[in-house]
Symmetry: C2
C-alpha cells in the first residue's frame, strides 16, 4: 500500500504520475497530455473470442482456468498484440475474480455467463464475505501481469483493471447477469447504508488488488462501471461514486486511470468531475459532443460502435476517420493528436471478422497519413 488522499491533479501539472515506465508509448504520452503523431488504439476485449488463436486455447481450457493459469492468461493477453500491434495490452482476467477471493462462489455457465449461486442481498448476507489475503487469492493475476510485462516492448504498456464496486455488486447481488437488477435496486431503496457497506468492502479489496497490479507492472488502470448507467445522476453520485473515490484515493497518483461507463449519457456532466486521467465512453454520443460536455482536461477514450466492425472494411475505415476527426477536433491546437485514445464503445463482438478488426486498427495506425 502507498500514500493516499492527495488530489490526483493540480492545475499547474495535471498529467504528472509517480510511475511512468515507458516514455515512448503513445498511450502513456497521451495520458500525460502530450501531443502525438497519431492517437494510440486498443480494443476492449481485444483478447477474446473473435481471435481463432483464443478459441483454440479456449477449446482446451475453461474460462476460469485461462484466467487463473498465469502462463495461459499471459499468452491470451499477448495474442492480439502479436496479430495487430495495438498500442496497449490489457490483462486477460475477469472483473468478478476479487468477489470470488472475498468468498463468493463464482461459476461460469455456458450460455448464461457468470453465476453466483449464493448471492448477497441484504446486510445480514455480508457476513458471508471476508477480507481476503490478496496475494494468496489473486496472485495468479499478478504473475500473469509480470509475464506479460516481460514479453512486451517499451512501446506497448500493459493495463490492469477492475470493475467498480457498484458494477461488481450488480453481479454479486443479482447472482449473475440481470435484466432489471431488481435485487440490487431494491436493496438500494430499502437499506442504502447496508448496500454502501458492501460497496466499501469491495472498494477496500479493489485497492489492494489494483496496487498488486501496479506492483506487478501495470502501467495504467481501467475501471469498468458497466452498470452505473442504471442510476440517475443524483443516485450515482450518492451510491456509486463514493466507493470509486475511495479506490482512487487508495491507489493515489501512481499510474493513469481511465474510467469506463456504458450507457451514461445522462451522467457525463458528473463523470467529467471525476479525478481520473481519462473517460472511456460508449458509442451513443459523438466524441466531440462528449468533449463539449466534459470539458478540455480529460483524455477521452473510445468510441466506435463495436457493431460497426460487423460492416465492410471500407465503411469501417470511413467511420474510423470520422472518429479520428471528432477526437482531433476535441483537442487544443491543430498540430498532432492530443487527448484521444482510440477504442470501441464497448467490447469487440465475438463474431467480428479478423479483417474488420484489422481495418479499424490499421486506419488508426495510418492516421498521420490521412491528416497531413
Amino acid at each position: 500500500m502507498v500514500s493516499h488522499g492527495k488530489a490526483r491533479k493540480d492545475a499547474s501539472n495535471p498529467w504528472k504520475f509517480a510511475i511512468l515506465r515507458a516514455v515512448s508509448s503513445l498511450f502513456l504520452q497521451v495520458c500525460r497530455g502530450q501531443s502525438v503523431v497519431r492517437p494510440p488504439v486498443w480494443m476492449m476485449r481485444q483478447a477474446g473470442r473473435y481471435l481463432p488463436e483464443y478459441r483454440e486455447l479456449r477449446s482446451r481450457y475453461d474460462f476460469l482456468t485461462l484466467c487463473k493459469t498465469p502462463e495461459l492468461a499471459a499468452e491470451v493477453t499477448l495474442q492480439p498484440i502479436r496479430r495487430f500491434r495495438m498500442d496497449a495490452a490489457i490483462l486477460f482476467a475477469d472483473i468478478l475474480l476479487p468477489l470470488e477471493a472475498m468468498g463468493a462462489e463464482l461459476r461460469f455457465v455456458k450460455g448464461d455467463g457468470p453465476c453466483f449461486p449464493d448471492p448477497i442481498r441484504c446486510r445480514e448476507d455480508l457476513g458471508r464475505l471476508h477480507r481476503p489475503e490478496v496475494e494468496a487469492t489473486l496472485g495468479y493475476v499478478f504473475k500473469a501481469l509480470r509475464e506479460v510485462r516481460r514479453e512486451l516492448d517499451e512501446a506497448t504498456p500493459v493495463l490492469g483493471f477492475a470493475g467498480t464496486p457498484w458494477t461488481l455488486a450488480a453481479y454479486l447481488v443479482e447472482g449473475g447477469i440481470s435484466k432489471h437488477h431488481a435485487h440490487l435496486l431494491s436493496w438500494s431503496y430499502r437499506d442504502e447504508a447496508g448496500l454502501r457497506e458492501l460497496l466499501d468492502r469491495i472498494a477496500d479489496v479493489s485497492i489492494e488488488y489494483l496496487q498488486g497490479q501496479i506492483d506487478a507492472g501495470a502501467q495504467a488502470l481501467q475501471l469498468f462501471d458497466t452498470w452505473g448507467g442504471l442510476l440517475d445522476a443524483e443516485r450515482w453520485q450518492r451510491l456509486a461514486r463514493p466507493s470509486v473515490l475511495r479506490i482512487l484515493e487508495g491507489i493515489g497518483d501512481q499510474v493513469p486511470v481511465i474510467f469506463y461507463l456504458r450507457g451514461g449519457a445522462h451522467l457525463l456532466p458528473v463523470l467529467g468531475e471525476l479525478p481520473v486521467t481519462g473517460l472511456s465512453v460508449d458509442w451513443r454520443q459523438p466524441l466531440d459532443e462528449v468533449r463539449r460536455i466534459v470539458g478540455p482536461k480529460m483524455v477521452l477514450q473510445g468510441n466506435l460502435d463495436p457493431a460497426a466492425l460487423l460492416g465492410t472494411p471500407e465503411e469501417i475505415r470511413r467511420q474510423t476517420h470520422d472518429l479520428l476527426r471528432r477526437g482531433r477536433s476535441s483537442a487544443d491546437g491543430d498540430v498532432g493528436f492530443q487527448g484521444h485514445i482510440v477504442n470501441l464503445g464497448h467490447g469487440i463482438l465475438p463474431m467480428t471478422p479478423l479483417k474488420n478488426a484489422g481495418a479499424f486498427i490499421e486506419a488508426v495506425q495510418h492516421a498521420d497519413e490521412i491528416f497531413t
Copy 2:
C-alpha cells in the same frame, strides 16, 4: 383506414384531435393541454404479475392464450383499474403479436421470454414475411379493446399500443431477447436499405393494427421504442425514425400518441422534435431536466424508477411528491397541473408489493391536497 399525412400539431391549436370521446378524463385533458386539479397516473405493465389476481389467471392459462382470448385479455386489462382506479387502462397484449401475424413463429419460453425460432436476418429472409389481413389475424385484440371500453366509465380512457418497427425488429432479427443485438446492428451496417425495408413493412402493418385499435375504442396510443437507445442520435434519425414517422402519418391526428423510449438520454433533443403528443421517459433523468431539453410543448409522461416501488411506502410517497413537483415546475403557470402524466420510468416489477403500488397511485391521487 382514414386520412393521413397532416401535420400532427399546428401552432395555433396544438392539442386538437379528431376523436376525443371523454372530456372528463384527466388523461385526455392533459393530452389536450388543459390544466387539471391533479395529474393523471397509470403504470406501464400495470396489468401484470405483481397482481395476485393476474397470477391466479396466469396459473391457468399460458401468456399467449391470455393475449388471444378477448374476454381474458379484457379481464386482465381491468384488474388493476378495479384495484387502484388508475386514470387510464392499457390493453393487455404483447408488442410482438403483429410479427406473428406477419408469419414469424412466436413462442414464449418460461424464463427466457419471447423467442422467434426462425429469425429474419437479411434481405433474403424478408420473403418469409407477408402482409397479413389484420382483422383476421389480430382481431382478438380489437375484440378485447371493445370489451374493455364497454366496462370502463368515461373518466378512464383505454390506451392502445404498438412497438416501434425498430424495437420489433430488435426481437425478430435477434430471435428473442439479446445482450448485444449483434445481428440487428450487423445488418444495419451491412445492408441498411434491406433493414429499412423490414422496418417499413412492419410500419405498414402497424398502421392498420393501430387503426383497428382506434376503431375498437382506443382513445390514445403509446408507441414503445424499448431498443431505440442502442443507436446514437444520427443513426436513430436515419434508421429508426422514418418508420415511426410513417406510422404517425398513417394514423394521423385521430387520438393522442405518446412515445416511450428507454435509455435515450442522448436522444432527447431529437425526440423533442417528434410530431407526437407526449414523450414517456425512463427514470434516468429528472423530469424538469427532460423538460428543459425537449421544450414546453410536449406532454411528459413518467418517470419514477420502478425499483423505487420496492422501497418503503413512506419513501415512495416522498419520491412521488418530488416527481410531482418536478413535473409541475415544468408546466406554465402555478395553478393546477399541466403537461404531466405520472407513470413509472419502465414497467412495474413483478415483485412489487401491492401496498407499494398503492402508495404510489394514491400519492398522485391526493396531489391536490399536497400542493394547495
